[in-house]
Amino acid sequence: MSARPEATSALARLQPALARLPGTRAWQQWRAATLAQLVADGLPTPRDDSWKYTNLRLLERRELATAAPRPLPSDVLQALPAAQGPRLVYVDGRFHSALSDSELPAGMSRTSHATLLDGPPPPEQSGPVDADLRLRSLNLCMAVDGARLLLAGGSAPARPLEIVHLHTGGGAYPRTRLELGAGAKLALIEYQLGVDPADAFVAAVTDIVLGPGATLTHTTVQLASDRAVLVDDTHVSVGRDARYSHRLVALGGQLARFDLRVDLDGAGAEADLRGLLFADGTREQHIRTLLDHRVPHCSSAQLYRGVAGGRGRGSYDGKVIVRAGAAKTSSRQSSRNLLLSKDAAIDTRPQLEINADDVKCAHGATTGTLDENMLFYLLTRGLDRQTARALLTYAFVGDVLKCIEPQALRQMIERRALGRLPAAETIREFIA
C-alpha cells in the first residue's frame, strides 16, 4: 500500500514524543521501529475492509502525544454516579492515586504496565502491520501506565470494580489487563470520561482472560467530550464454562469506535453482548464485534441498538465465526437501528462465517424509521404524536438499558439518554 500522507503526518509528528517516554533502551528502540512501521503503514482507512465505515482522517490535525499532567477541576468526577465500589482513576492513561481508592476488591491484586517497561520489549514487527492491529500497536508504543489486575480463583467481590479513564486533551493510551481465575466472579464498570474542552485522542486497549467457570459482567460507559476521537480495542478470551457479558453505552465523542473481539476458547463458554450507540449532532458511533466460536458447545448472543439523529452517523459491523469442529454452537445477533433525521446515516454488516454443520446461528438487522403499527396503536389510545414518537424511540433502546446494573448506573444512563430525545419530559414515567 502506498503511504497515506494525511494520516501519516499526525503519526510522524509523534516521533519527538518517544524520547520522553520511560523504559529501557531496548524499549526505546522497539518504539522507534514500531512507530516507523506505523508511519509507513498509516492509520486504517475505509479501504481496509474492517474499517469500511470508519474514517479517521479527523486525526490529521490532532495532537497524538500525551500532554504533561495538569491540575484537574475539583468536581471532575461529578458527572458520574456515586462509586459503586472501589475506583481506579487514570488520567490520560496515567494512574491518579489521589482520585483513586487504595483498597481493591478482596482477592484482587494490581500491578502497573509501567513495570513491563523495565523488562524486554515484545519482538519487533517485521513488515506491514494488519490494519486491525495498528491501533493496538500504537497503544503499546505510547502507553506508560495501566492496570494489570488479577482476581484470584474463587473470589467473588460483592461490589463492582470501577475504572475511570479521564481524558484532558491530547493523546491518551489507556491499557488494561484483567484476568479472572477459575470460578471467580466480578462486575467491572469502565468509564471513558472527557474533561471539557478536551480535543482528545484516546486509543484504549483492554485484554481480558476468563479462567474456567469465571463470570465477568463488564459495562463500558462512554462519555467522551464532544470533540474527542476515541478508539477502544477490547479482546476477551472466555474459558471453559466461563461467561462474559458486555454492556456498552456510547453517548459521547466526536468519533468513537469500539472494537470488541471475543474468543470462546473453552467448551461451554458463553458471551452476551449488548450495546447502545447514540449518534446525534455530528457525532459518529461505530461498533465492530468479532465473535469467534473456536470449540464446541458455546453460545453467544448480541443485541445492538443504534440511534442516529441530526447529521450523526453510526455503524454496526459484527462477525460471527464458527470454526470447523465447533459443533453445538448457538449464536444470535440482532442489530436494530433508528434514523431520526434526514441527514443521519447508519450502516450495518452482520456477518456469519460458519464452518461446522451442527449449529444454530441467526441474525437479524433492521434500519429505518419507527414502527408504523406501534405508532398507530399509541395514537388510538389518545397519545399525541410527539409523545408517541418519543416513547417508541425510548422503548427502542430499552432492551439494552434494562439490563444495566446496578440501578444507580442504569438511572444515570437513562437520564442522559432521555435528555437527548425530543419530548423527554413527557415520557419519563412510561418506561417499563
Partner: protein
C-alpha cells in the same frame, strides 16, 4: 358524555368507499349506530370488516375515497387518530401490537388522562389510577404481574385480547369497536371478555362487535346484526339473523343480494 341520551345518534356512515394499497375494499357502506345499542357486524373473511374498524380509528395508510362518517355530530374522518380516541372512540384491535419497553400501565394512565383532559376533568394521579385499574383487573381476571410488563409484550393471544378489553373498561368510551375480539379465545376466556364488554353496556354508549362467528353473540346479545360482504352492508336484522347465518352460512345472503 353524560348528556348523551339513549337513542341519540353516535355514528352515521354513508357511502363509505375505502382503498387499501390501491384495491377497493369498502364500496359504499352505510351504517347508523345509536346510544344504548350493541351492533354486530358479521361477514365472511375478506369482506372488509377489519378495514372498517381500522378506518374508523383513523389508520393513515387506508385511503377514504368517498363517503362520510359523522361521530357525535363531528366529521370523524377529519380527525387525527388521537383526537378520535380522546372523543371516546375506542378500537379493540384484532392483532394488538407488542411494544416492548413501554409500560402497560403507564400507557393506560396516559390514555385515561388524555381522555379526561379532553373532557375537562381533572387528571387522575398514580394512586387513584392504580385503584381504578386494579378493580378492572379483577373483573378481567388478570394478575398483577401484568402491571409491570411492556405493552402486550410476550402476551399470549388471549392475554392480548383481555388487555384490550381491560383498556376499554378503564377508558369508558362512548363508542367501542371490537375487532374480532373473540378470535383465539378459549371458552373461559371468552366469558371473561364478554363480562368485561357487558359491564360497559349503557344507555349513553354504543358497542360495535366485528366478528366472524356467532358464538360471541351468545354472551353479548346484540340489538342489531349486519352482514358485511363485498365491501357493503348486504343485510341487517336482529339477533335471529346471526343464528340464521350460523345455520346457513353466508352464501344465501350473497345470492339474495345478487338477485336484487
Amino acid at each position: 358524555m353524560s348528556n348523551i341520551q339513549k337513542g341519540n345518534s353516535i355514528l352515521e356512515i354513508s357511502g363509505l368507499k375505502v382503498n387499501v394499497q390501491g384495491k377497493a375494499i369498502l364500496k359504499g357502506l352505510d351504517l347508523t349506530v345509536r346510544a344504548g345499542e350493541v351492533h354486530a357486524i358479521m361477514g365472511p373473511n375478506g369482506a372488509g370488516k377489519s378495514t372498517l374498524s381500522q378506518v374508523l380509528a383513523g389508520r393513515p395508510d387506508y385511503a377514504v375515497i368517498a363517503g362520510h362518517a359523522t361521530y357525535l355530530g363531528e366529521d370523524l374522518l377529519a380527525l387525527a387518530p388521537e383526537e378520535r380516541a380522546r372523543r371516546g372512540l375506542f378500537l379493540g384491535f384484532q392483532y394488538p401490537v407488542e411494544i416492548p419497553g413501554v409500560n402497560n400501565v403507564y400507557l393506560l394512565k396516559a390514555a385515561l388522562n388524555a381522555r379526561r383532559r379532553h373532557l375537562g376533568l381533572q387528571e387522575v394521579d398514580a394512586f387513584e389510577f392504580l385503584a381504578i385499574v386494579k378493580e378492572k383487573m379483577v373483573l378481567m381476571q388478570m394478575d398483577e404481574s401484568f402491571l409491570k410488563r411492556g405493552v402486550n409484550e410476550g402476551f399470549s393471544g388471549g392475554e392480548k385480547k383481555r388487555n384490550e378489553i381491560l383498556q376499554m373498561t378503564v377508558l369508558e368510551p362512548t363508542l367501542a369497536i371490537l375487532d374480532e375480539t373473540d378470535s383465539g379465545l378459549d371458552i373461559d376466556a371468552l366469558k371473561v371478555v364478554a363480562n368485561g364488554v357487558n359491564s360497559l353496556r349503557a344507555d349513553n354508549r354504543a358497542i360495535v362487535l366485528v366478528t366472524h362467528y356467532q358464538r360471541l353473540l351468545d354472551h353479548i346479545v346484540p340489538d342489531h346484526v349486519h352482514v358485511l360482504a363485498g365491501g357493503r352492508i348486504l343485510k341487517s336484522g336482529d339477533r335471529g339473523l346471526a343464528l340464521e347465518l350460523e345455520r346457513r352460512g353466508y352464501d344465501w345472503v350473497l345470492e339474495e343480494a345478487n338477485a336484487e
